[in-house]
Symmetry: C2
C-alpha cells in the first residue's frame, strides 16, 4: 500500500454522502468505487467526488465485487441498518478493514460471526457511528482518565432526536427507519452514546457489559405526526408502529458501574445526547453543560444551584490534545467535526496497520445492545446477559491503538512523544 | 370537631420540627401532643411550639397512647423510615386520619395492611413526603391536564441530593439513613418524584403502575467520604454499605407510559429532582428549566438549541391557581412552600371530612416502589409486578378530593366555582 488509501463506499444515501464529503477533505484517501442498490444514488455519489476532488469513482451495484477489487484497500459501509453484517464479513474475508455504520444487531449470532471472521482473517471491523470523537466527549474522556470524577459509578446517554419527519417519509425516501420502526421495538440506535460511555468505562479492556434490561413505552408519536401532517385518511395514518416512542435501557458492568440509555426519536423535542458521567469525585451533566467536582467546584452548601461550573471553564485545561490540534488546524466535516475524526481514526489505523481504536470487540459489544434490548422488551423487561465476545480476553486487554486517535489514557503519551 | 384541628406529631427529629414550623403558621391547627422515643427531642419540639405559638404541647413517649387521646383529631408521622406502618395503623384504628412521611415499604404485606385497615375503618392515610405541591410541579400538572403535552408517553424524576454528610454521621445523629443504607439496596426514597408523576399519569384513577425493574450501581461514595473526612482508620471506614450509589428504576403503566426514577444520594453533586414529562405534543425538562411544545415553541429546525423555551415564560398562563393564590397571600414554609401546601391539603381534608387528594391507594402505590425495587435489585434486575391495591377500582375511580387542593383537572372547576 502506498501512502494513498483507496476506499470503497458501500451505501451512498444521505449518510454515505455525508461521510464522503469528509473523506474528500483528506488528501491521502481516494474513493475508488461507490456501491449502492440504486443507480441514481451512485450517480449522485460519483458526481459529488467529481465536484469536490475532480475525479470520478467507479460505480458498482454489487458489493461483493467492490470489496474484492485490487484498487480497494478498505471499505466503509453506510448502508441500511440490516445490511452491514454481510458487507463487513465480505470485506474482512477479502482482507479489507471495514468501517461500519450503525446497525445495532438483529441477533447475537450475527455478531459472533463478525467477531470470528475478524479473528480468523486478522482484519479489523470498526464501528464508525458514535460520538467518541466529539469535542465534549473527548474532553470528558480526558477528565475521566485523569481521575477528575474519581472512581466511575454511573453513566448516561441517549439518542434524543425528533426524527418524525424522516421516519414518516421513509418509504418515499427509501429510508430504513420506516420499516424498522414498523416491525422492531428496542434500543435500535445505541452507538451514538454507548461509544463514548464504553470508552469512559474501559469496556473490553478490564471491564465489560454484563447484563441489560429495556423498557419500551407505547408508540403514539409517529401516527400522531402522520395524522397531523398527512391527514387522517393517509394510507399510513392507521399503521401500528412497533417501536415505542421512548425506550429506556439499563446496563450493568462487570465492576458494578451502571449505564442508562434513552432512545427518543418519535416525539417533539430539541436534540440532546443527554450525557452524564458520575463518580466518587464528581459529575458531568451535558444538559446543564456543567460539571461539579468535589472540593474543586464551589460548595453546594454555600452556592446552591450556582455550584455547577460550566464545562467550558474546564476546556483550557482538559480539552483533549487531539481536539486542540484539530481546532488549531481548522475543524473539518459534519456533526461538529467528530465525523471527520472518527473516519480519520479508521484510515490512520489502515495506513499504519495498527489496531483500530474501536475494534471488532467494541463493535460487537455496542451492536449487541440492540438485539438484547429487543429481547428484553419482548420479555417484559427481563434482564438479559451480554455474551463475552472476547472470551475472557477483556480481563487483560490493553488499549492496542497507541496513536493519538486512541481512546484510552495512552493518548497523552502519544502527544507527549 | 370545632374549627380547630388538634394534631399529634409522632417523630420529632429534624423533619418533624420542620413540619411543625409549618403547622405553627396555621391558626386553625393546634399541636396538642408531640411523641418520640427520645426525651430531648420531645423537649425541643415542645419548646418550638411554645416559642412560635405561646403554648406548650404535651409530650408522650408512647404513640399508641398519643393516637387515642380525645384531644387528637389526626396524626402526622415524621418518624423513622421503618416505623410508619404501625403508627399509621394504630392511628386509623383509633379513627384518626394520618399523614405519613416516607418510608418506602419493606414488604408488600405491610402495604396491604395499610390499605385494608383504611378500607375497614374508613379513615384515610395520606403520603405527605412528595413534591406534588411544588410550584413547578403544579404548573406542569396544570399544563398536563390542559393537554399541552398531548398524550403522555414518558416521565422521569429523581431524588438526587448529596447526603453523604447526613448519612455518614447518621449514627451519632440518630438518623435512620445510616442503618438503612448499610443493610438495604433499592429505590429507598421514591415519593419525592413519584408523587407528582403519579398525578400527571392519573395513577389509581384510570391508570396504574404495572411493573418495574431496578438496577443498582456499586456502593463507593459513602466509604470514600468517610475515608476523606474521618480518616481511613475510622471505625466506619471499612464498612460495606449495601445501598448502591445510584439506583435506577423503570416503571411500566397500564396504558403503556414509562417512568424512569433515579436515586442518587451518596456521590458529590448539586441537588436536582430531574423532572421530565414527555408526550405526543411536547416535553418539559427540569434540568434545562425548559419546555418545548410542538407548533408553539420555535421550530427546532430553525432555532436549534434556542428552540427550548424557559418554563418561566409559561407561568403567567399556566401557573396553578393554588400557587397564584399562595403567592399573593405570601408563600409560607419550607422547601419553597410545598411542605406548607401538602400539610394544608391534609388538614383541609380532615377539616372538611373529604377524601385526601393523596389517599391510601396512592400512598400504597408509591410506597410499593421501594420493596419492589429491592426485590428487583436482589434478583438481578428482574421485572416485578405491582399489586393492584385498589382491586380493580382504579378503572373507574375519579378524583374524590374536589377541593382546590385536588390534584386532577377538577381543581380548575373548584377555583372557578
Amino acid at each position: 500500500m502506498d501512502k494513498t488509501i483507496n476506499v470503497a463506499v458501500i451505501g451512498v444515501s444521505g449518510r454515505g454522502l455525508g461521510l464522503m464529503s469528509n473523506i474528500c477533505d483528506m488528501e491521502d484517501v481516494k474513493i475508488t468505487v461507490v456501491c449502492d442498490l440504486y443507480e441514481d444514488r451512485m450517480e449522485n455519489a460519483a458526481n459529488l467526488v467529481m465536484e469536490l476532488r475532480g475525479y470520478r469513482p467507479d460505480t458498482c451495484g454489487d458489493y461483493k465485487e467492490a470489496v474484492k477489487r485490487s484498487d480497494v484497500d478498505c471499505v466503509i459501509t453506510p448502508s441500511s441498518w440490516t445490511a452491514h453484517r454481510e458487507i463487513a464479513i465480505a470485506s474482512m474475508k477479502a482482507g479489507k478493514p471495514v468501517g461500519m455504520e450503525v446497525g445495532g444487531a438483529c441477533s447475537l449470532h450475527e455478531i459472533w460471526e463478525l467477531v470470528r471472521v475478524s479473528e480468523e482473517t486478522g482484519v479489523d471491523c470498526m464501528m464508525l457511528e458514535n460520538c467518541c470523537y466529539g469535542r465534549e466527549e473527548l474532553t470528558i474522556l480526558n477528565m475521566v482518565k485523569q481521575g477528575l470524577f474519581g472512581e466511575l459509578i454511573h453513566c448516561q446517554g441517549g439518542y434524543q432526536h425528533d426524527l418524525r419527519h424522516e421516519i414518516a417519509t421513509g418509504l418515499e425516501n427509501r429510508h430504513y427507519r420506516f420499516q424498522n420502526y414498523l416491525h422492531r421495538n428496542g434500543e435500535v440506535y445505541p452507538t451514538h452514546e454507548i461509544g463514548p460511555i464504553a470508552k469512559y468505562l474501559d469496556i473490553n479492556r478490564g471491564n465489560r457489559f454484563v447484563s441489560l434490561t429495556s423498557m419500551s413505552s407505547k408508540a403514539k408519536g409517529l401516527r400522531q405526526w402522520i395524522v397531523d401532517n398527512k391527514g387522517e385518511n393517509h394510507e399510513h395514518a392507521s399503521l401500528d408502529f412497533a417501536q415505542g416512542d421512548v425506550v429506556t435501557t439499563m446496563i450493568k458492568c462487570a465492576h458494578g458501574e451502571t449505564i442508562f440509555l434513552i432512545h427518543d426519536t418519535s416525539l417533539p423535542r430539541v436534540y440532546s445526547r443527554g450525557g452524564r458521567v458520575q463518580g466518587t469525585k464528581g459529575i458531568w451533566m451535558e444538559d446543564k453543560k456543567s460539571v461539579y467536582i468535589d472540593g474543586v467546584s464551589p460548595s453546594e452548601h454555600e452556592a446552591g444551584e450556582d455550584a455547577w461550573e460550566p464545562l467550558e471553564s474546564y476546556m483550557d485545561k482538559y480539552e483533549h490534545p487531539l481536539w486542540k490540534e484539530f481546532r488549531s488546524s481548522g475543524v473539518k466535516g459534519g456533526h461538529g467535526g467528530m465525523d471527520f475524526l472518527v473516519l480519520r481514526a479508521f484510515f490512520e489505523s489502515v495506513l499504519n496497520q495498527t489496531p483500530a481504536p474501536i475494534d471488532v470487540y467494541d463493535t460487537a459489544a455496542w451492536m449487541a445492545v440492540t438485539c438484547l434490548s429487543e429481547e428484553s422488551v419482548a420479555l417484559g423487561s427481563m434482564p438479559v446477559a451480554f455474551p463475552d465476545f472476547t472470551c475472557g480476553k477483556w480481563i487483560d486487554r490493553k488499549d492496542e491503538a497507541p496513536s493519538k486517535y486512541g481512546l484510552s489514557k495512552v493518548f497523552q503519551e502519544c502527544f507527549e512523544a
